[in-house]
Subunit: 383 residues, 2 copies
């Protein structure tokens, strides 16, 4: 159980025929209420796919009855014809569910620049709606996979309520979101504005700090649906904490399944003047191809860390910085400290701690290494 763990939700995942392989490719998540409050955040890429353009309008009133998600095609850079396909998808779901099309969000992922077949999608939506069940979460999580090697799901228990979720995305993970589709559900009883605050607070410190390869998708969407079926209206802080825990768990699952990666790297920045500075410093390392290639080669190359952070505008003195890799301080005050060969970078989990000694703020950015498999998958997979 994933998105269907909280009370009030049904889901389905089916093979609609969008993917030629015959794999599951279409999911529907429905909120049976009593409440249909919702919030969503979207890619900050200005080149937004048609489902994003649609869903941004549909979420405006804070009411969502259902989310339709397809893999096998991103419906991005497909013009007015592509927008009509998205619109038709929402209409088909609304009609089958007895809802308004304006209360149906649509998410798409896969190839960009190619048209989706509207008939296949609409037939698929009808078929999925017929198979909705309170056990459908697992199939839904499978149906949104593209190059993911496994489904990503989560459940976080609250006091008489819970948060469930599913995610897809294995490449193009970047700040401001990624080709990352996430649906979170809760049976807590909260209004849309409270959901919006909790979701933005949670994504700011989770998905927005996952920067696998610096590339930002045109199709990212994270949606939070609340059914109110528990009858419990939790404290907003406790609810935000649960949503954040769910998002962090899913973000780390995305990192662990990033295309071609052999290391999951946590870049912890300490001693920054502001949290934004800490994020900028961590992100500059996460986006440095030389650093990422070094980690792939199990090379604790702290010089590349310092060279990367030297490009930022965050206040600090590069010649006061300490760098610790997997517990060994290899750089002290911008110079060599312990020998490189004391560092064991063989494990997939990699921890890089950067102490700026400029202030009290901190942040952690999660990224991956740059590998042969990354190059292979992204030169061979036409997406």
């Amino acid at each position: 159980m994933t998105v269907t763990a909280p009370a009030g939700f049904e889901a389905a995942g089916i093979a609609a025929g969008i993917k030629r392989s015959g794999a599951l490719d279409l999911a529907v998540v429905v909120n049976r209420g009593p409440s249909q409050a919702a919030a969503a955040v979207f890619t900050s890429n200005r080149a937004k796919a048609n489902p994003i353009l649609w869903s941004q309008q549909a979420i405006a009133d804070g009411v969502v009855a259902a989310v339709v998600l397809n893999s096998g095609g991103a419906n991005c850079f497909t013009g007015t014809q592509g927008f009509q396909v998205t619109h038709g998808t929402a209409e088909a779901a609304a009609s089958a569910l007895g809802a308004s099309a304006g209360d149906v969000l649509v998410c798409s992922t896969g190839l960009i620049g190619e048209q989706l077949d509207g008939e296949i999608l609409e037939e698929g939506v009808l078929s999925a709606v017929n198979r909705l069940s309170a056990d459908g979460g697992a199939d839904a999580a499978r149906a949104i996979m593209t190059t993911d090697t496994k489904p990503k799901t989560v459940v976080v228990a609250g006091d008489g309520w819970s948060v469930g979720g599913m995610a897809k995305g294995a490449g193009m993970l970047a700040p401001g979101l990624a080709t990352m589709l996430v649906v979170l559900t809760t049976d807590a009883d909260l209004p849309a504005d409270a959901l919006d605050r909790a979701l933005r607070a949670a994504t700011r410190v989770t998905f927005d700090r996952l920067d696998s390869d610096g590339c930002m998708s045109t199709n990212d969407q994270v949606t939070l649906l609340a059914s109110g079926a528990s009858g419990v209206a939790p404290d907003e802080a406790a609810f935000t904490e649960a949503v954040t825990a769910a998002c962090r768990d899913l973000a780390l699952q995305l990192q662990g399944d990033a295309e071609g990666a052999s290391h999951d790297i946590a870049i912890e920045v300490l001693g920054a003047v502001t949290e934004d500075d800490a994020v900028e410093v961590g992100r500059s390392v996460a986006r440095n191809n030389l650093f990422k290639a070094a980690i792939f080669g199990n090379d604790p190359n702290w010089g590349r860390v310092l060279a990367a952070i030297g490009t930022t505008s965050a206040p600090f003195d590069p010649y006061l910085v300490d760098v610790t890799m997997n517990g060994v301080r290899v750089c002290h005050a911008g110079g060599p400290d312990r020998p490189r060969d004391e560092v064991d970078l063989a494990p997939r989990a990699t921890h890089v701690r950067i102490e700026l000694h400029a202030g009290e703020a901190s942040a952690t950015i999660w990224t991956n290494d740059l590998t042969h498999d990354y190059v292979h998958e992204n030169s061979a997979y036409a997406s």
Copy 2:
């Protein structure tokens, strides 16, 4: 002949023993005058190597008698001990040449975070000064190579004067300069402030637009030395044009020898509101790993171009953009145009034209693809 092509210059390149391989590793370029006017630009990385910290002080008065360059060690993140090595190098050269140490620039490239042996360097400087000659430019160009596969040199003829140059650098090429060491010489008779204007104008549209892998070095330096030996004081516009031509030629040689690259990509951005916008748009594509991996795979993936430029703040409508790859317009108005398979990406020279239709400004950014060899060289080469 390279830096020794213009009158008034001598150079040498020797094997000082810094590189264990016994390859050439130390170069000296001397300006015999009558003028010793000079200008230099440096990495904008805030983590600057010791030779940069030294040379920034030494160039302040616009007088340079000699430049000492070594490969085999970057002398970066090596603390006060490292600074003393740079200082000692300048003193040794000054003493041998009868000049002031404050008129000697030092450039270093190679491993960072490791100490250079000051004695080896000082002995090498003396040996190189003893071998200075008006034919020494070719050896000097070889002595500064690291992972370069060939020396990079240029000569541009003016009207009674000329500009010569040499460059090294095969990785970490990025805006604001790279692990790129360049020495330009001229026998034109111009004061330091005119040299400075010409050099900044030239680098702004050449080296600053070369972005091979988005990584900025701690050691970049481009120096222009003027001997005045021709007795000709050229028109400043003509001189700037010649320096720009020399810089562009060297920049394209650097691109052509970038670590592991299999494509030299020119990203031409047209129809921007301002030149800065065009540069930002071009750079966002040049730094997109998914785009770069696609080009490696000979995949004309225009969707990744649009996804990359959608992350910029430049004013344009993504749904008005045209993209042409090697002469085939694959994207028109943000949607599919000619079929992908009409594009031939087999040649190393790759041309991507992006028409924004937002204004009249343009710029070209040069980059390379992301290849298995890039990952291999940068995971195996500990620098």
